[in-house]
């Protein structure tokens, strides 16, 4: 306990700020994902904290938050094979950085472009991984529902799976971005940036 106290007192303001914000972002990812599962809402919402960490701190922070989140889910919930979905989180963290301009301020135009890119990249990546790992079957009911709907219209397995992912990703990403932007605005200016 004494050593932990010593360690904490030895941390700089920046280190403390990073640690606190990143822990909050990891918690946001986990809590939102759990709420969505428990309430059977057809959304993932597990990248909200990742986007928030990227825009409040920096892309590397978003990458770490996504990594911790994916590790947690792999270890305690879904198993090690879901680790590959970190590529989706990583893409989200990197693309979320587009939201900020050179002075580290959010710009509406940039937010829209970033959201579109996040939807495209995460749909494609998760569709591809899902197809590679399970032949297109998701563990989200609504995603499978839309996949089957596309399949019944004559689309192939990959396209149907990607369509299912896309239908979910659009509202999911928009909701995540809105929440992350709210988190950014709620964060005092002195706690933002590198």
């Amino acid at each position: 306990m004494k050593k932990i106290k010593e360690f904490l007192s030895g941390m700089t303001f920046k280190q403390k700020r990073y640690a606190v914000i990143m822990i909050i972002c990891v918690a946001v990812n986990m809590i939102l994902a759990e709420i969505m599962t428990l309430a059977s809402v057809p959304l993932w919402m597990d990248v909200t904290g990742t986007i928030a960490a990227t825009i409040i701190l920096e892309p590397a922070a978003g990458l770490i938050v996504g990594l911790i989140n994916n590790f947690f889910r792999a270890i305690f919930i879904n198993g090690p094979t879901t680790l590959v979905y970190y590529s989706v989180s990583a893409a989200v963290a990197l693309l979320a950085a587009i939201m900020l301009d050179r002075e580290n301020r959010l710009r509406l135009g940039r937010v829209v472009i970033s959201t579109i890119l996040i939807i495209a990249a995460s749909t494609l990546l998760s569709g591809l991984l899902k197809y590679w790992q399970t032949g297109g079957v998701s563990n989200l009911y609504w995603e499978n529902y839309f996949s089957e709907l596309a399949a019944s219209r004559g689309f192939g397995t990959f396209l149907s799976g990607t369509f299912g992912a896309f239908v979910i990703k659009v509202p999911d990403t928009i909701a995540s971005v809105i929440l992350a932007v709210i988190m950014y605005m709620l964060t005092p200016k002195k706690y933002r940036g590198r």
């Binding site: 990073y18 701190l57 920096e58 590397a60 922070a61 990458l63 770490i64 990594l67 590790f71 792999a74 270890i75 090690p80 094979t81 680790l83 590959v84 970190y86 990583a90 991984l129 590679w132 790992q133």
Partner: protein, 253 residues
Amino acid sequence: MRHTIYSLIFNKDSRNWAGRAYEAMVSMAAVISIIPLMFKTWHPIFDTIDTFTLYILFLDYIMRWMVHDFRSRYGKPWAFIVYPFTPMAIVGLLCILPSLGLLDQTFRILRMFRIFKVLQYSRMFGLVVRVFEREKKTLLSVLFIAVGYIFISALAMFTNEPETFDTFYDAIYWATTALTTVGYGDVYPVSDVGKMISMVSSIFGIAVIALPAGIVTAGFMEEINSVIKEDDEKEEEKKDGSDKAEETEGSET
């Protein structure tokens, strides 16, 4: 933040205990993960080992990617784009793909590449890699000569003894095993001319085949000597520094 990660992975300073602990953790995970491959029957504990070591190796792969721009000659963002195509990253990914469920379990043999993780942290392995990089052109030309020589020997033998060697592939197989002095003895020439070709090609071939070993050994010795010299110089610099500090302390008192 990325600087902290970089120093954790690459700082070999003896004072960096976290870096040393990280290095030990990844090396141990790599070694332990290979143990299941030594057994014919699968045991449930192997799944636990596989899962546990997968987490560590995956983490190492991602963290190395995150800080690759500090080591790469390319700037951002190219360093990050190039990283998955670097030899060690390819090996690092291939060895975890079967455990990630992206490759069938028949590919679990790829796990043996995890031993490269241990070598990645080894200074000696770094020296060998440097030697190969430095002697790349020479080694390539020697390899070209060796392959050419094997091809000509095989062709001579195949034309002379088509009844012994069913296909040209058999002749290539014979030439390779004979010239590398392995000689399984399952395929061999039976005619007098064939035996003569075999003797002549073996005598000259052994010199061609032994050439790369000589080049690598010479390069390795040179590299080791330069490292020893560097270490000595650093030691002397340290000594000089501490002597000067003692002198200034003495004059002050």
